[in-house]
Amino acid sequence: MKSSTDKTSLSAMSLWRRYPALKGYALASPAILLMIVALVSPFLLLAGTSFKIETGSSDEWMLSLANYEFFFEKSHYVNTLVRSIFISTLVALVTVLLAYPAAYFIAFHVHENKMLWLIMITLPFWTSYLLRVFSWKLILGYNGFINSGLMWLDLIKQPLDFILYNTNAVILTLAHAWAAFAILPIYVSLQKIDKSLIEAAHDLGENKIYSFLRVTLPLSMPGVVAALLLVFIPTVGDYVTPKLVGGPKGLMIGNLIQSAFGRLDNWPLGAAISIISMITVTFAVCLFLLGINRVRKVLI
């Protein structure tokens, strides 16, 4: 009998040992809880709100698709969504193009103090996002650094007015703001590449350019894909940068959502735009990943 009581007292422990997955769930439970409280429930609330319309009196609601219909009837809204996707795609591409050489340099040509370099890259993130956007305003503005610099050099007579308050300014500002999110994943994937693979490519007759194209680049693709997504997804919804440096032509979907929740005081419409934007982003990402897979199969 005694042995069986021993067994019971140990059962929690042995259950633990026998099913390691339980331990995993236990460890993940705080995160799961947080996800439910801070992510899943707000999302359900948002989705619910998007189907509501006001019926006149303040506490009576009706379920309907009217908000979605309203969105797709307004070409201005649809165009803004398309432009947001377009701008974010460009931002992701520009950011990755600028980030790749930096990540490559740190991974292959910095031998000491790599950590210091990585910290220096994240240094701009130690100041507020708003401040960084404002500094771009100072750089690109009518009396900004670039214009006054060029005037001082006598290269231009009048300040250039096409460098601020347009799509290019938004792309430039966002690309800078998200650089670290592209550099870090690309750096990690480059760092993981066994240097003897590159030597093997040289050994088999390929010069530096071809070794890069045939070995380094394909092996760093996971990092590039991660960087593209990490930059693309959050920038679609950005509204601070377009508001500050975008002008009327640089407006993005985030600005519409913000005004629906704010100035227009139409939360159901704001919620519907949010949901539409979310679905569009998901769709775009799926399309992108499918495309990448296809390209990989064709190339390899």
């Binding site: 066994d194 003897s196 693979l197 030597e199 093997a200 490519a201 040289h202 050994d203 088999l204 007759g205 390929e206 010069n207 071809y210 045939r214 070995v215 394909p218 092996l219 390899i300």
Partner: protein
């Protein structure tokens, strides 16, 4: 010595900062030779190999391959290919693409390429593996793919960096023979780096033994094993009993040597010259030592008594450790296990007499 020198390394040194990895090495390697660079880790053998491949540029000296000056030619323009220590198989490509990697510039038509690759695949006995991904291959298969990828380029010289180091013992022994056969079939000059003396002895036509950046001795496996000239080589190749000594006198065809452990012994003169009183080392292979019985008829030139302290049993043979008076270094004696001789001999702490012939005593210059 090779009849004609195919690879010629002249006065080559490599410095990394203040560290001298390779120290004025001269080597001549013949066409079609299977040549080993043997030494402990950090002796500079890999650096020397990497200079042949072009990954390192010599700080001093010249490297010529087939009459062409190579020292500063980049790796992708050398008629040389390498099998890397970890094989460096491209993980994003399958076996076929890995093997065909080096043929891009040849711009072969698809069927020709297909044929070249499948020829090499059958050479390494891996027909039908073309579609496999590297992570689906065993260690031995990866090694073959690395070999095939290099050999398909038809290099003048194939370099191998510890080619069998990652394989388990049985597979390694099998691959040693296969590599040897493969080299005979393709007739390419092989230069390989290893720290495993047995591997070097089994596989190579000639061996260069390196230590601290220098080449100490070059010779055939038999030469180096049976007639080492330096204490390091004697010690490094196989098991060796080495004792400090000095020359007492020269007596006809023998030197008389005084040692603390073995007393005064005589050794047949081979090629070296020693002066009277010169400090040197005396070496005896365990397999050249015998346990002398009272009934034994063989006449020994030298003998010493000691107490058996330990045995290492290998199955086909055994090594017996004999404690000598006035020495903390035991004498290692190897006996063949003929009809259980080794297992019978290996008993207890009994006193034994160990004998040897004077032609088996090796005299080594102190470096």
């Amino acid at each position: 010595m090779p009849e004609s020198s195919f690879i010629s390394i002249q006065g080559v040194s490599k410095h990394f900062g203040s560290i001298v990895a390779v120290d004025s090495v001269d080597l001549e390697i013949g066409k079609g030779e299977f040549f080993a660079l043997l030494g402990p880790s950090g002796c500079g053998k890999t650096t020397l190999l990497r200079m042949l491949a072009g990954f390192e540029i010599p700080s001093q000296g010249e490297i010529n391959i087939d009459g062409e000056q190579m020292s500063t030619v980049p790796p992708y323009q050398r008629p040389v290919n390498m099998v890397f220590q970890n094989y460096a198989i491209f993980p994003h490509l399958n076996v076929f693409q890995n093997i065909a990697f080096g043929l891009r510039k040849d711009r072969l038509p698809a069927d020709e390429l297909e044929k070249r690759v499948s020829d090499v695949l059958s050479l390494i006995k891996m027909e039908g593996f073309g579609e496999r991904k590297p992570d689906e291959l065993s260690g031995g298969q990866r090694q073959r793919v690395a070999l095939a990828r290099a050999l398909i380029k038809k290099p003048k010289v194939l370099l191998l960096d510890e080619p069998l180091g990652a394989l388990d013992k049985n597979l390694r022994e099998q691959m040693q023979l296969e590599l040897r056969q493969l080299q005979k079939i393709v007739g390419v000059t092989f230069v390989f780096v290893t720290h495993d003396q047995e591997e070097a002895l089994t596989m190579s036509d000639r061996i260069a033994v390196m230590s601290a950046g220098k080449v100490l001795e070059v010779g055939s496996p038999e030469d180096l094993y049976e007639h080492p000239q330096t204490r390091f080589v004697a010690d490094f190749l196989g098991t060796m009993n080495v004792f400090d000594g000095h020359i007492h006198a020269r007596d006809g065809d023998s030197y008389i040597v005084d040692t603390r452990e073995l007393g005064r012994i005589s050794a047949r003169i081979e090629s070296q010259d020693f002066s009277k009183g010169e400090k040197m080392s005396v070496a005896l292979r365990p397999e050249n030592l015998q346990i002398v019985n009272s009934q034994s008829m063989t006449v020994m030139d030298g003998s010493i008594s000691g107490v058996m302290s330990n045995t290492a049993y290998f199955g086909n043979s055994a090594q017996i450790y004999v404690e000598l008076e006035g020495s903390d270094q035991p004498l290692v004696v190897s006996i063949q296990n003929l009809e259980g001789a080794a297992s019978k001999a290996a008993h207890g702490n009994r006193e034994v007499t160990i004998g040897w012939s004077k032609s088996s005593v090796l005299l080594l210059k102190d470096a």
